[in-house]
């Protein structure tokens, strides 16, 4: 029990990694059943272990909690330094929740190299939690880069026909960005006298020129990950080729790492540069909301459409961050969580269709509601959530970001609010062509409705979407102190 009390974060990181290695050890497709059940057990256990993070978190404090700090590579002053605040806790929980869903989603679909598939997800889960908990620069960087490997494999091994192009594009794109981040971290460490303590970096005095360079280096890493226009084109390709589970994790959690990086690293370390570059970032965010939404409108491939929708919704997140307003920033964080659920669910829905007809083309379908009414209910629900219907989580983030932005600049808010129209347009137009209408394709008439497994996983995610939509207060409460502190910190100039 002491282990759980004092080393909860370590447990959350390494338990799924070890579990993944155990699953790998049973690597034999003849024993696929055992691999599946072990994976489920590990992911559920990880989720249960993450609950104390929520229940025992002190909401009145903006300090790092559940801190673990021991020297690691003393020669370079690199520490094993973990801790969470109100911004990272929801993200860790999102990770543990969705990993369970993804494991269930891959249950029957993956028939080749089953153990490796589940192991990749479990190991990735641990590494992603690591990203959200690491407070040492090098530790953060290691987790950040290491999680690329299982994702690269997931796309490259279990992906679609063009998977190699997509996997390499994904890998190079993100690697290029993160190398600049490493340079910035090394520079900061020299300026800080050798330490890689991120929290110490927050209080490091830096000149305006240095701040700009450091910020731009981090910006390169995070903007690619989010992704922001114009470095977004890896995402649609990666999604199209990735298996369903890969798409879910990619959209739901990987993208959030970029946004998280802004909050934890780039903004507090270089606040003056953040303010200086904010207009550009806001411009790019609004471009994402409008430009990408129009591009999403004309997609023929459902996964591409949802991928573009993700980019558009992440535009709201960066907009919310860089207007430096409490409601907008809290809304942006809610949007991160909500988008995790909704985009994940939409990819699951596409996966359900793909498993049946092996097509992601919108034109293949039509009239699905006739044969799959239960499925139709879910996809319409998630589509409405994606369009920001009140009562679903999709509304909360958009609403708060628009409201918060309005009090800063009405024009920004007006452009952002266009998403009400265009977001609904591309989502519901897809629903119209896939779900409604007469059945054109005889294969569609043969499709069977959701089985219990699929029903369960969609219901689970739907419950989350609804809960956050109807009662977002607890989510906002847990992040309030940390957001206040962050904004207060960023408001003070380092010059």
């Amino acid at each position: 029990m002491a282990l759980l009390n004092d080393h909860l974060l370590s447990v959350l990181i390494w338990f799924p990694v070890v579990g993944g290695i155990l699953v790998l050890a049973s690597c034999d497709d003849r024993r696929a059943g055992r691999a599946r059940w072990t994976a489920v057990a590990v992911s559920v256990a990880t989720f249960l272990l993450s609950i104390p993070l929520w229940s025992r978190f002190d909401r009145t404090s903006a300090e790092m909690q559940f801190v673990e700090r021991i020297p690691w590579i003393e020669r370079f002053q690199i520490e094993y330094f973990l801790g969470v605040d109100g911004i990272s806790v929801p993200l860790v929980l999102l990770t543990t929740l969705l990993t369970m869903v993804v494991v269930v989603a891959g249950w029957r679909v993956v028939q080749a190299r089953v153990a490796q598939y589940f192991a990749a997800f479990l190991i990735m889960e641990g590494l992603m939690i690591g990203v959200f908990c690491a407070l040492d620069g090098i530790l953060f960087y290691l987790f950040w880069e290491a999680m690329l490997i299982p994702m690269f494999l997931i796309i490259g091994v279990w992906g679609g026909p063009n998977r190699v192009y997509a996997a390499i594009k994904f890998f190079l794109y993100t690697l290029l960005g993160s190398l600049l981040m490493l340079v910035a971290l090394l520079y900061l460490s020299r300026a800080a006298g050798g330490s890689f303590d991120l929290l110490f970096f927050h209080h490091l005095p830096l000149s305006a020129g240095v701040q700009t360079l450091v910020f731009l280096a981090f910006f390169a890493a995070f903007a690619v990950k989010i992704p922001m226009v114009p470095v977004h084109t890896w995402l649609p390709d990666a999604h199209v080729e990735a298996p369903t589970g890969g798409s879910v994790i990619l959209a739901a959690i990987t993208l959030k790492m970029g946004a998280y990086g802004f909050l934890r690293i780039a903004m507090p370390i270089a606040p003056d540069a953040a303010h200086q570059i904010a207009p550009i970032i806001i411009g790019l965010s609004l471009l994402a909301v409008v430009y990408i939404a129009l591009v999403a409108l004309v997609q023929q491939d459902m996964k591409k459409l949802i991928a573009y929708s993700s980019i558009s919704h992440m535009g709201f997140v960066t907009l919310g961050f860089f207007v430096f307003e409490t409601r907008a920033m809290e809304g942006a964080i809610v949007q991160m969580i909500s988008h995790g659920f909704i985009s994940g669910a939409l990819f699951l829905c596409v996966g359900v269709l793909y498993d049946r007809l092996h097509s992601r083309e919108i034109a293949t379908y039509g009239g699905v509601i006739k044969v799959m009414p239960v499925f139709a209910f879910f996809i319409v629900f998630f589509a409405m959530a994606n369009a920001g219907l009140p009562g679903t989580s999709g509304f909360v983030g958009e609403f708060l970001v628009i409201l918060g932005t309005f009090s800063v600049n009405g024009w920004y808010a007006a452009v952002a609010a266009l998403t009400l129209i265009v977001g609904a347009a591309y989502t519901l137009w897809m629903v119209k062509r896939v779900v409604f209408g007469p059945i054109q394709n005889p294969q569609v008439a043969e499709m069977e409705d959701l089985d219990r497994r699929e029903f369960g996983m969609l219901l689970f995610v739907a419950a989350g979407v609804l809960l956050i939509g109807v009662w977002p207060a607890p989510l906002l409460e847990i992040m309030a102190a940390s957001v206040d502190q962050l904004l207060a910190h960023v408001a003070v100039s380092k010059l």
Binding site: H232, E325, T326, R327, G367, P390, I402, L403, A417, A473
Partner: protein, 647 residues
């Protein structure tokens, strides 16, 4: 019983009913599904009546149920404001909804989506109640979008029809255009007042009345004007005001009961309700009121003309709804909020009645909606005929039917209004009176009088629909006759709405009474205009049936303009639907694929590849190349040592 619990029970009973019918419909069966839906909505109606009587004896309520979220110092609450305005709305909504529920048993009897339909209309009632009972902008927006969602689901109820799923997408998106303005309006309210609670905002509003900001091109803007105009854009979407009206006629693709409930009696009045609720804000901006007045007058006039040429029985009623919503908007613009809500209430009764009567004709005719193939139905369907005539008389504003009082109140208020543009609006509503009477009785004469134009097979099956259909007709006919007479005095002396709407220039000061209005009617212009309209309809569609066709031939351009509904649909389709898709294709092809991927990403990859190819040539693998390079390097280094270091 605890009042708060009672209030909570009103929407929740509908929600529970909707969930029961929706999720357990296939398990509990059709009968239990409609029983639960009707039970839930019936309970809501009874409670609404109790609450209304409680409110009118002076017990108002304003309080929150739970805190939705706290962010940046702003508390977002879910709560109720129960005052005369919301009480009237609750009674109207639940009553019409209940009638429609009962009617649906007959209308949808053969439909495979029976339980789903009940689930939707109960859910609609829930969302509408949340909207009207709200005490803050957040919940208002929740109900607002909720009714939009259900409207989307119901217009596309027959989801195999291409026209239906096209119409529901259109309805949702046009409404979203309105919501775009609405959410920005809410943003402006929060930015200015720091709260979304009605009472807080209304109390603080007067002190912000003169607050201005600098808009584009250095123009000076009042905050209140901005807020009211943005909120009104939302109202224009829901209440289908020109130019955001295009979705309402198409929404007739849905089953008729929902046309009655959602697209005539309740949801489309949400915008009217919104402006009345916000009357303390609108009163502070003459500019906003003038815009409201102008839009309302335009809608009244333009849509009434289109109604003249429609041949689909439901579309006639739909365009008449648009025109009547215009009347209500005109009243709002003239600051006669109570008259607007009065007309909203009477209109809800007689318009629901007219739609349900049209639906009754449609079932009897086996889903034929073209009036040119009807005729002579009055002998075959007497109950439908009589109730339909009652509805039409009410709509045309003939005393002592309900519409007479509410419409007269509006006309008088506009007449005495000082809002800029009131003169134009007055002319518009007067012309509207003739047109309304004309198209209402055009329907009556075409469908129920004259020769029978249907085919023999349909004729042989024609009969009055069952009681579940006719009882709601009769039940709605009663308030269509009496609601005006009963309500007019309390509306006019201001005792009905009290201070729940602003009373400044409304009909309250005009000293109108039921007796006075009835006595005055024969000497007033609207009365004779209405009679003229009815007479004209009789001439054109009963006495000399060839007249309309020759008129259409005589003025072909005008006729085509009206048949094309002024070309709004084509224009929007061309500019917005095709425009957005074209822009999307352009961005995708030239932005994402060529510029970013082709030029930047793959271009850089190609450049790296080419550079590598060049560098590779150096490594030729031939010893004398390497030896040569070494000698050159050695010579270079030695020279540097000798000359550069030496100095």
């Amino acid at each position: 019983m605890n009042r708060e619990l009672l209030y909570l029970l009103v929407p929740l009973s509908c929600l529970v009913a909707a969930l029961l019918a929706g999720f357990l419909g296939s398990r509990i069966g059709r009968v239990n599904a409609h029983r639960s839906a009707i039970g839930g909505v019936g309970l809501a109606f009874v409670l609404s009546c109790l609450i209304a009587s409680d409110v009118f004896s002076g017990n108002h309520f304003n309080g929150s149920v739970y805190t939705w979220a706290v962010s940046g110092g702003t508390r977002f609450e879910i709560g109720f404001l129960i005052d005369p305005l919301s009480a009237v709305m609750m009674v109207v909504v639940t009553f019409v909804s209940l009638m429609v529920h009962i009617y649906t048993i007959g209308y949808m009897a053969d439909d495979p989506g029976y339980t789903r339909f009940f689930s939707y209309i109960a859910l609609f009632t829930f969302a509408m109640l949340m909207l009207v009972m709200s005490n803050n902008f957040l919940q208002l927006f929740f109900g607002w979008e909720g009714v939009g969602l259900v409207s989307y689901l119901l217009i596309g109820f027959w989801n195999e029809r291409e026209s239906a799923i096209r119409a529901n997408l259109k309805a949702f998106l046009v409404n979203r255009v309105g919501d775009f303005g609405f959410i920005l309006g809410i943003g402006a309210v929060l930015a200015l007042f720091g709260s979304l609670d009605y009472q807080t905002v209304f109390d603080a509003a007067p002190s912000f009345a003169d607050g201005t900001f600098t808009g584009p091109f250095g123009s000076e803007w009042h905050w209140m004007t901005l807020i009211c105009l943005l909120l009104f854009v939302g109202a224009m979407g829901k209440s289908a005001q020109v130019p955001l009206h295009v979705w309402l006629p198409d929404s007739m693709e849905g089953p008729t009961p929902i046309s009655a409930l959602i697209h005539a009696a309740t949801m489309v009045t949400a915008g009217i309700f919104l402006v009345a609720r916000m009357s303390p804000l609108f009163e502070l901006s003459t500019t906003a009121l003038a815009v409201v007045l102008l839009i309302g007058a335009l809608t009244t006039l333009l849509m009434a003309f289109v109604a003249l040429v429609q041949t689909d029985i439901k579309r006639v009623v739909a365009y008449s709804t648009l025109s009547q919503l215009g009347y209500m908007t005109v009243a709002l613009g003239a600051s006669a909020y109570s008259a607007a809500i009065f007309h909203l209430a009477t209109h809800a009764f007689f318009k629901a009645l007219l739609f349900l009567a049209a639906g009754s004709v449609i079932i009897a005719m086996h889903h034929e909606q073209d009036m040119r193939r009807m005729g002579g139905l009055r002998k075959l369907m007497p109950v439908t005929y009589i109730t339909c005539v009652i509805g039409s008389l009410a709509l045309a504003g003939i005393p002592p039917f309900a519409g007479f009082f509410s419409k007269d109140a509006i006309i008088e208020a506009v007449h005495h209004s000082s809002t800029p543009g009131a003169g134009f609006a007055y002319v518009a509503v007067m012309i509207g009176v003739v047109l309304t009477a004309f198209y209402s009785f055009r329907l009556v004469f075409m469908a129920f009088h004259g020769e029978e134009r249907m085919d023999a097979k349909t004729r042989s099956h024609l009969h009055e629909p069952p009681r579940v259909v006719t009882i709601p007709l009769v039940a709605l006919a009663v308030p269509s006759i009496l609601a005006g007479l009963i309500l007019v005095d309390p509306v006019m002396d201001g005792s009905l709405f009290g201070n729940s709407v602003v009373v400044s220039a409304g009909p309250e000061g005009l000293g109108m009474t039921a007796a006075g209005m009835l006595a005055h009617a024969p000497y007033s212009a609207p009365f004779w205009l209405a009679l003229t309209g009815i007479l004209l309809a009789w001439v054109c569609y009963s006495w000399k049936p060839g007249l309309p066709a020759s008129a259409a031939e005589r003025w072909p351009r005008l006729y085509r303009l009206l048949m094309n509904k002024y070309g709004f649909d084509e224009f929007y389709h061309w500019v917005f639907a095709d425009g957005a898709r074209g822009l999307g294709h352009f961005f995708w092809e030239w932005g994402d694929r060529r510029l970013i991927d082709g030029w930047m990403v793959n271009g850089i990859a190609g450049a790296v590849g080419r550079a590598a190819g060049l560098v590779r040539r150096i490594q030729s693998g031939l010893v004398y190349h390497y030896a040569f390079a070494m000698i050159i390097g050695l010579v270079g280094l030695m020279s540097w040592f000798l000359f550069a270091r030496g100095n």
